[in-house]
């Protein structure tokens, strides 16, 4: 990648190229998928459509805060939903912030969450081909994440094998809400494939698995729903550690995306304390759980934590590790973080480079 993209002068200052680990591309319309689907699955999409474990035809189970979940100024002037127009994404996001690499995470539609699993697998493949054709080939700053039908690990591995060798793909995307906790052995073939190809697993909040969004049923408000998505990260990470995933796959890299990170130290303390007393139940977990978290897990910054005292934000990152935080914007969603303003913390130059660029380069193996 060329020097002039990495560091450009603006307002007389040398500017750091940023790696943004969470950009959401959208289909201009469902028709954009048709060229990437077989005849059978084109018919499925056009007749039965997308079907998940959700009460509504085309709404989220809990309606979001804004149209298309997005910033109100992110609707492309040329039409289409936010995140669907490459030129506008360049003009609104990639260029002004100096994004050297933007990693795409396709949230909608979800192949993983389809009721018809074979259709879900076909949808994942189509979305992967669409990411290449519509985004990563025309714009080399963008990289794709391999979307997989995670509930069908065999099909997931096949899709990873199909995509991982292409330089367009730098990670594997799984949404948080799987039907079983992600550490369960049924998902291990996915982890083996990730390690084999040296790509991190990007776990992004959201998804639908047919299980209530809280341990006591469904919440009423988006105020709860949005937070519930972040809270799901904690049992997910506990599962990865306590099932022994990081013992079995010591090279596995996991990036936790859009769940925040303020909860990580307290989860580590609690895991360590109760593991110490009950470790005979999980003999495959050989070290205090927090050690695995600090060795195998990266945390994306957004939505960034906002403790009233900036020193407390620094302490959180001290615990997680300054080499384990990667920047994410969540463009174009309503709660996206502006890289210039998100972290209410004064960083020195080395910390800035690490958080906004170098940690992600290392985690994703970017040039």
């Amino acid at each position: 990648m060329s020097e002039d993209v990495l560091e450009r002068a603006q307002e007389g200052k040398t500017r750091l190229g940023i790696v943004d680990c969470d950009i959401h591309p959208m289909l201009r319309s469902q028709d954009a998928l048709l060229p990437h689907l077989s005849r059978r699955w084109r018919e499925e999409l056009q007749t039965n459509g997308l079907r998940t474990k959700n009460p509504f035809v085309a709404s989220y189970a809990v309606p979001k805060a804004t149209p298309a979940l997005s910033r109100r100024d992110s609707w492309p002037p040329a039409g289409g939903p936010p995140g669907s127009d490459l030129d506008f994404m360049r003009a609104q996001h990639l260029d002004p912030y100096g994004i050297e690499t933007g990693i795409l995470q396709v949230l909608i539609p979800s192949g993983k969450d389809q009721r018809n699993p074979a259709f879900g697998a076909a949808l994942c493949a189509a979305l992967n081909d669409w990411q290449v054709a519509a985004w990563t080939e025309p714009e080399r700053r963008l990289k794709a994440s391999i979307t997989i039908p995670a509930e069908d690990p065999e099909a997931s591995v096949a899709e990873i094998e199909r995509c991982a060798a292409k330089p367009d793909f730098v990670s594997i995307f799984i949404s948080t809400r799987t039907t079983e906790p992600l550490g369960r052995k049924r998902y291990w073939p996915i982890f083996a494939a990730a390690v084999r190809h040296g790509v991190p697993l990007g776990i992004h909040t959201g998804g639908s698995n047919g299980v209530a969004k809280t341990p006591a049923g469904w919440p009423s408000f988006y105020f709860e729903d949005h937070f519930a998505d972040a809270l799901a990260m904690q049992p997910l990470l506990a599962s990865l550690v306590l099932e022994g995933v990081f013992e079995a796959f010591p090279e596995l890299k996991v990036v936790m995306i859009e769940g925040g990170f303020g909860w990580a130290p307290a989860l580590g303390w609690r895991l360590d304390q109760h593991w110490a007393r009950m470790r005979s139940e999980v003999p495959h977990v050989k070290y205090p759980p927090s050690q695995y978290i600090r060795r195998n897990v990266w945390f994306a910054t957004q939505p960034v934590e906002e403790p009233p005292e900036p020193g407390d934000l620094r302490s959180l990152i001290d615990w997680i590790g300054w080499d384990r935080m990667v920047f994410a914007s969540d463009y174009p969603h309503w709660d996206m973080d502006d890289p210039r303003r998100a972290l209410k913390l004064s960083l020195d130059e080395a910390e800035t480079r690490a958080l906004f660029r170098d940690n992600a380069r290392a985690a994703y193996g970017l040039a």
């Binding site: 709860e224 304390q273 005292e309």
Partner: protein, 370 residues
């Protein structure tokens, strides 16, 4: 076991202690003819909460089991290991009984009433230092309120007891009659760790291990706290106090930062939430001390407590017989000494107004007077 002298000198109030879970046979004397017949003819038993497998390390310290392994043993063991060492002046009993998880609301209510009668007769009448929470069915606010009202005349019942992982999110309107009754009768609502398992205890499915289930319980409390805030329970019931029991508390700062951030962005959706979640929690919520889940770094626990910025928040608890701490280390290392009197005495008295009520005409009182 040598108690910290400062704690012993205070004569603390233990806000979370567990008598052994009664068998159905032990409850039969407290059930009416119909339910006695149902229990016996259908062979119903084994109604302890599965969140606490009796043999698990979580459920009892090795020396806090009876001769047959029963967590907590009997009253003599409780006196010797939980009440006497700390000079405890009062301790609040929480029965971990599955009445709260029973699908039949009638059977759940009958069992809850029997457990409450059993606690009163077998524990409170025999040991004047004990108080109890009111166990209620988790399936019917109407029947729960009836039990709360029936019990409220006995000042030794000081709190309503709900399960963290219950039937519904606790903020929902269906539960509001419970809060109305609790507020009217001066009873805080205690939410105890554990699940009815009517839902998976995480939104990513059923965890495999006891240790995993228990670690995940901390997020159950976070969902419940958010529900209570978001649904406006504390706006509607301004005098209500909620006590999170056996929830841990070191997760609270990050919870408050996030909840406050969500509220700033989304408050137009929940306009009845008229103050920041951090302010609401500091006024209305209390948390028992154990498990402390304390950070190991020196000074880190003190920082967590500063972040919470609520000197009223913590209530002393041993969580007897659960195995949360070793030796005599009931006070986690690094707990600021200047908070001790608040945690051990002042906060419990402030949280539970009934702890100050005179106790009259109970069996133990009459017995000791005669």
């Amino acid at each position: 076991m040598t108690a910290p002298p400062a704690l012993r000198a205070l004569g603390p109030i233990d806000c979370d202690i567990h008598p052994p879970t009664p068998s159905v046979a032990e409850l039969l004397p407290y059930l009416d003819d119909h339910w006695r017949d149902v229990m016996v003819s259908r062979g119903i038993d084994g109604l302890g909460l599965a969140s606490y497998p009796p043999g698990a390390a979580l459920s009892a310290r090795p020396e806090w089991r009876g001769p047959d392994g029963t967590p907590g043993g009997d009253l003599a063991l409780m006196r010797r290991e939980a009440l006497d060492p700390w000079g405890t002046r009062l301790a609040i009993c929480h029965p971990l009984h599955g009445a709260a998880a029973m699908f039949s609301e009638d059977m759940g209510a009958a069992l809850a009433a029997a457990v409450n009668d059993w606690i009163a007769a077998e524990w409170l009448d025999r040991e004047p230092r004990l108080r109890a929470s009111i166990l209620v069915t988790g399936r019917s606010a109407e029947l729960a309120v009836a039990e709360i009202e029936r019990r409220a005349a006995d000042p030794r019942f000081v709190q309503v007891l709900l399960l963290a992982g219950g039937e519904t999110l606790l903020g929902r309107r269906t539960n509001w009659p419970i809060y109305a009754a609790a507020e009217r009768l001066g009873l805080p609502v205690g939410i105890h760790a554990g699940s009815a398992y009517h839902h998976p205890i995480t939104s990513v499915g059923w965890p495999s291990y006891v240790v995993e289930d228990y670690v995940d319980q901390a997020t159950v409390f976070q969902h419940q706290l958010l529900s209570l805030i978001g649904e406006g329970v504390f706006t509607r019931f301004p005098n209500l106090r909620v006590v999170l029991i056996e929830s841990g508390f070191t997760w609270l700062p990050a919870f408050l930062w996030r909840a406050t951030k969500e509220w700033r962005a989304l408050r137009s959706e929940v306009p009845w939430v008229d103050r920041s979640p951090a302010e609401i929690v500091r006024e209305h919520v209390r948390i028992t001390l154990q498990p402390a889940d304390a950070p190991p770094a020196p000074g880190a626990l003190a920082r967590v407590i500063e972040q919470i910025a609520a000197p009223n928040l913590l209530l002393f608890s041993t969580d007897f017989p659960h195995w949360q701490w070793d030796g005599a280390d009931v006070l986690p290392a690094g707990l600021p000494g200047d908070l001790l009197a608040r945690i051990a005495l002042e906060n419990p008295f402030e949280t539970y107004p009934r702890l100050k009520l005179p106790i009259r005409s109970t069996a133990w009182n009459e017995a000791s007077a005669s």
